[in-house]
């Protein structure tokens, strides 16, 4: 029981300092699980980074479940996730009630515009990182054919969502299916 509580508190600690998107969170989870708690080795944690590439869901929740699972099985996974969402959910409701109370006032309006500008910068930063990772999966320039192909799929996805207003979920699944077929058929050298 105390191990479960410890798991809850560990992820509470991580969750309150995890600002600015998923990729900022991984080093924080690693520090907590490997250095602070000693629950796993760095090599075991590296499995999580590989898994995050290929599993759905918010990365903080994935990491919490993964670490919790190693610590105390399924109860550990649930405890870790619970710890990871509790304080942020309370904070978001607190901010929301402040916003709801003061919205419409001149100061609240410009504060919201400013915070939206910050949100744009944060999302744009993730956008740049994701686009670069998609374009150069091995960290170096792709071949001409592969580079053009990647740009074509990304642009088509954007066009369908933004201009044609097609639901994002099927577009995303379609991109997955197209990539699976094309990359399986495309000879390895190209």
């Amino acid at each position: 029981m105390s191990l479960l509580l410890q798991t809850v508190f560990a992820f509470m600690r991580v969750s309150v300092i995890a600002f600015g998107g998923a990729y900022a969170a991984i080093p924080l989870v690693e520090n907590e699980a490997v250095a602070v708690q000693g629950w796993m080795t760095y090599e075991q944690f590296a499995d999580l980074i590989a898994l995050d590439e290929i599993t759905p869901g918010p990365i903080i929740i994935n990491s919490a479940t993964f670490v919790g699972m190693r610590v105390a099985g399924i109860p550990g996974a649930i405890a870790a996730t619970f710890g990871a969402i509790l304080i942020p959910c309370a904070l978001v409701m607190l901010l929301y009630s402040l916003y709801d109370r003061f919205k419409g006032s001149a100061i609240m309006d410009t504060v919201m515009v400013s915070l939206k500008c910050m949100a744009i910068a944060l999302i744009a930063s993730t956008f740049v990182r994701l686009a670069m990772a998609a374009f150069m999966p091995e960290g170096e320039l792709p071949s001409l054919v592969r580079g053009c192909y990647t740009i074509a799929v990304m642009s088509t996805g954007f066009y369908l969502i933004h201009k044609r207003q097609i639901s994002p979920l099927p577009v995303m699944l379609g991109c997955g299916a197209v990539n699976l077929v094309v990359c399986t058929l495309l000879p390895a050298g190209i």
Partner: protein
Amino acid sequence: MGQGEAKEESLGSRLLTLFWTVFSISATANSGYAILSVMKDEFVRKRAWFSEDQMADYIAIVQSTPGAMAVNASMIVGYQAAGLLGSLVAVLGCILPPIVVMIVVTYFYEAIVGNEFVYLFMRGMQLGVVGMLLDVILSLVSNVTKNGVAYPIVLIALAFVYVRFLGWPIPFLAVGCVVAGIVKAIVFSKGIERS
């Protein structure tokens, strides 16, 4: 609650829609940000539960809060759509898929991590997520530039440099943005005669 033009829907069907929308994206997309694009499409464009401006404000609140962005967004959107019960249902829809998937994956790690087909499919979906993010960014930009372009563009550029190149802690940036907003409101109200 929702906009005037929103269709009359029973609480049960709202909760079901909430759960299913959040669940389906959380069970597939690899990036939390994808949820914003799907919420905008389902709750704003298709169902008019709230306006695009409200959604933009929610995104700002969510980004000013620590923790999993997708969970925080579910919390706030769920609350707006159906009160605290809505929050609970949406957050459950958001965390259930990753919990189940990660538990399953722990048992089948070898089979999944080395699998070329899983890898190619997930990589392809990431290309789609890039398009989703650009869509969310553009709609936010058009929202903040409605009343004047100079201030938001300068602030976005500064914030982007802060996040991308300086990599300093986000809470300081959030506080800076709040201060900038307050200062601008005061300067603006002094500089312009209200008719």
